[in-house]
Symmetry: D2
Subunit: 283 residues, 4 copies
């Protein structure tokens, strides 16, 4: 597969959907030169959104971290996270009772803005299980894994409640070579044990792309999918999800997919991006 | 779980999404009394759509079969099928080459209206594999399973092309007690052998519900999901899909889920409908 | 399915293989009356073995816990555990380096009798990853889940070593209604994340039954499988494993399978025991 | 990973287990030079067996095909096939009724030597389903896939009987670049639809290796596993199965695993052969 220059592609589109990790930033911070890309997009009146499997914080806090790094163009409105979908689900489907969660106080804050009562799995007493109306996997931090993941298993054996996984990623990078198990990986283990059907939000699920699409159209963006480009570093989430939604897709080699593997991976997985670029950096 | 009367529920909603098989019809034809339901809906100005995992024919032909049975309210515009999503995908993502398909002439007709060149897997010569730009699973009929499913496997080993499954159902009922393997079941076998990622359309995937929602809103229907009700006979497709999209859901006991099993199934699967009704019939 | 009296069955066999939990004991200790069963077996010259998915301790310590409860017939020689298979694997296949383990000091003691150097995942420094020649999942205790399961993931991303799961159970009962995630459940999560093939020991795998069979034959037991009976409380481990190995099987209703569910479960799972008995107790 | 000469390895062992396809033969017939290997083994008093996932014929017929190709050393006694395990299962566990099978007349012949009544799925009338005591997947030929695989599905929905898969392979090579779906692939589809637990025989399952081991020991072969070597071309069957059974293993590059991929595959799959050799040919 031939490498294409990102600049030559991007100007044929009106809206760009960016994956976050591996595309805009990595474990060291912003990917060097990515600020130029956003200058270029602004100069060419091309709109953009960040579409990210992340429920560890609300969109405001996610945007803040970009701004703190100098990418001031990423405001709250530019963020589409899987946590936003999980919140929407709870808003529509859970009106009463208490929502138990696995995550930090920061992760649940955005859900509490719905007016829902919440309780950390760490604070839950199983004797009060009947008061719980839903269980939400938000983050891999904020609780004691051994004590509290076991508590989540027993909660789901005691009461039959909807269980929401607000980030389907199984792991995430923490340094150049180390990863950490993500909330999606923990949720998979619990589901494998209790054998119930959880409700999952996050790429590659179409709902993420539709949410982003509608969010963009409402803010005046193009409604023609042919004018939208999805940029990601992972075939099995960003690219297959974008393809299925009908978008053109760019695989960048600045994250999960390494330059030497790209052809082999595309062939083995059968997931075919429209373009392959070294990175999303425009010099 | 308590049974509720369908009539008492339905009048609180503005739009009803109906699953087809097990809700409106079964192997003997229309479910007795279902015509009354549609009279009731018309009388009360409640809108409705049929949301069905079916790619064996286009929406016009699917509607015709309802009309031939006497359910004249089901016109082409009232049908949302997984085949329509598959067609939309091909329209956006496959502009050239020939689309190979597993299915009948009737199943591919709706795709050919895009102007795409198509070839039945039965007529495909593997020496011409490089001319094929996509493979689509449409129906379980129209080809010789032994010769042609093997041909599909070898096609996907020869060329790296998107593969579309236009109906995720693994089987469908043909008489009161017999079933037949559906195109989704065949596609699962092929994917298990070639180990590539196929693109699937059909409930419970959110895309089906969003497609129906947008289709309905464009025709003047309500845009408030709280006013839409999903009615189905299968927890793992209709109900979990409707729930995830944020709709209220009704499980009816006229199809896949039998009255004696309903409580057990809901508890084992962890999929919780808003209501359970004997059927969608309003007397 | 008709219930049969255990006493009437058991005297037609020369050797009985018993599952442990749910058959001989439960969360309260020995199942009341089970001592009579072993008196009966001794009186009738029927041999017996306990076949258990357990690697938390060696066979001597497992036997000791039966003896402490008053079941003095269960000596070290009567125990066949999945941990014994894992130890045998290490003996044959790992001759050098250090074996890292997830488990307690008690769980690794039996492996250390091989003369192998071991290190708890809790004490492992990833900078020394290249010294590790195998990773073994022994128990769900003895380490900090959050810190150390993540360490196991990163170990397997750093070095390509055989990974052994010495107990395939996903969870185990701790009280009448609560369970705890077992080492097999944790191993499944790690395998799902690193996507490597682990080597698993435990029922229903045939190797457990063959190991027990050979162990029994060596001690003078019958070599005719028709004279051996497997007794268990779980269709998907004890019964399918015993069936596949060619043994007659008894499902008892004193553990995982409740009296009201037995017919349904046998039909849904398609796993058919030769007999169903209330329990293994002989009054 | 370094390549080792097969000759230098093989003389340190007393018994060699060979995979068939990709090691001894390929689609063109015997692998050139393989006759020399067997001359070498005979000259050095090294014993050998062929361990193959094949139930399309009995061991006598499988051996005959080697002899017809000139490999006269492969007699009936040298063959260990997954079909032999399936036959043993039926011998122990199915004493009455009729065994329905998917396969050719040749494939069922070996089972009929048990004295069991058999019926091809092609000849089965579902009205007689209650006379069927087991279903066996033997071969991918001998029946009409569309009509008869559907019949197998409905048989298993009508009666609750053990279902035996006598070859776990999902596909097999038919020419240098084409494959055909094998009986294991078909069985997977049926199991995915009826959701019952099938009983499977074939590598990598330990039972294959134990069967071969006991067969060999009974004929005077070594009982020390350290003196047995498993030779195969597939990591996920031959090598992981041999490893788990405690044997030293050789991956050869004359079949499924290509020279350019070997290091990558070993790292991705986490299955580590003791040696890698170009082929099993000794010049």
């Amino acid at each position: 597969m031939e490498l294409t220059s990102f600049a030559s592609i991007v100007k044929d589109y009106k809206t760009i959907f960016f994956d976050a990790y591996g595309v805009l930033k990595n474990h060291k911070g912003l990917i060097p030169g990515i600020l130029n890309t956003f200058r270029f997009l602004n100069d060419h009146n091309i709109d953009y959104y960040v579409i990210t499997n992340d429920a560890s914080r609300g969109p405001r806090e996610l945007a803040q971290s970009y701004q703190d790094s100098g990418l001031t163009q990423i405001t709250k409105d530019k963020i589409i996270s899987s946590g936003m979908l999980a919140r929407d689900y709870l808003k529509m489907k859970v009106q009463s009772g208490t929502v138990a969660f696995l995550g930090t106080k920061e992760s649940v804050h955005y859900i509490e803005t719905l007016g829902l009562k919440t309780i950390s799995i760490a604070d839950l007493n199983l004797d009060d299980a009947h008061e719980i109306s839903a269980l939400v996997f938000l983050d891999d931090e904020g609780y004691d894994w051994s004590r509290d993941i076991n508590k989540a298993v027993n909660l789901l054996r005691t009461v039959n409640i909807p269980t929401i996984v607000s980030n389907t990623d199984r792991y995430y990078p923490i340094t150049g070579h180390e990863v950490a198990i993500a909330t999606g990986g923990i949720a998979n283990m619990v589901e494998d044990i209790v054998r119930k059907h959880f409700i999952r939000f996050g790429k590659p699920d179409a709902q993420m792309f539709i949410f982003a699409y509608e969010h963009s159209v409402q803010r005046g963006g193009t409604s023609d999918k042919r004018d939208i480009l999805m940029v990601g570093d992972t075939l099995s989430t960003d690219i297959i999800g974008g393809n299925k939604f009908g978008l053109d897709t760019v695989l960048v080699l600045s994250g999960n997919t390494l330059p030497g593997q790209v052809e082999l991976k595309i062939n083995i997985e059968g997931i075919i991006p429209t373009y392959v670029c070294e990175s999303a950096v425009i010099m």
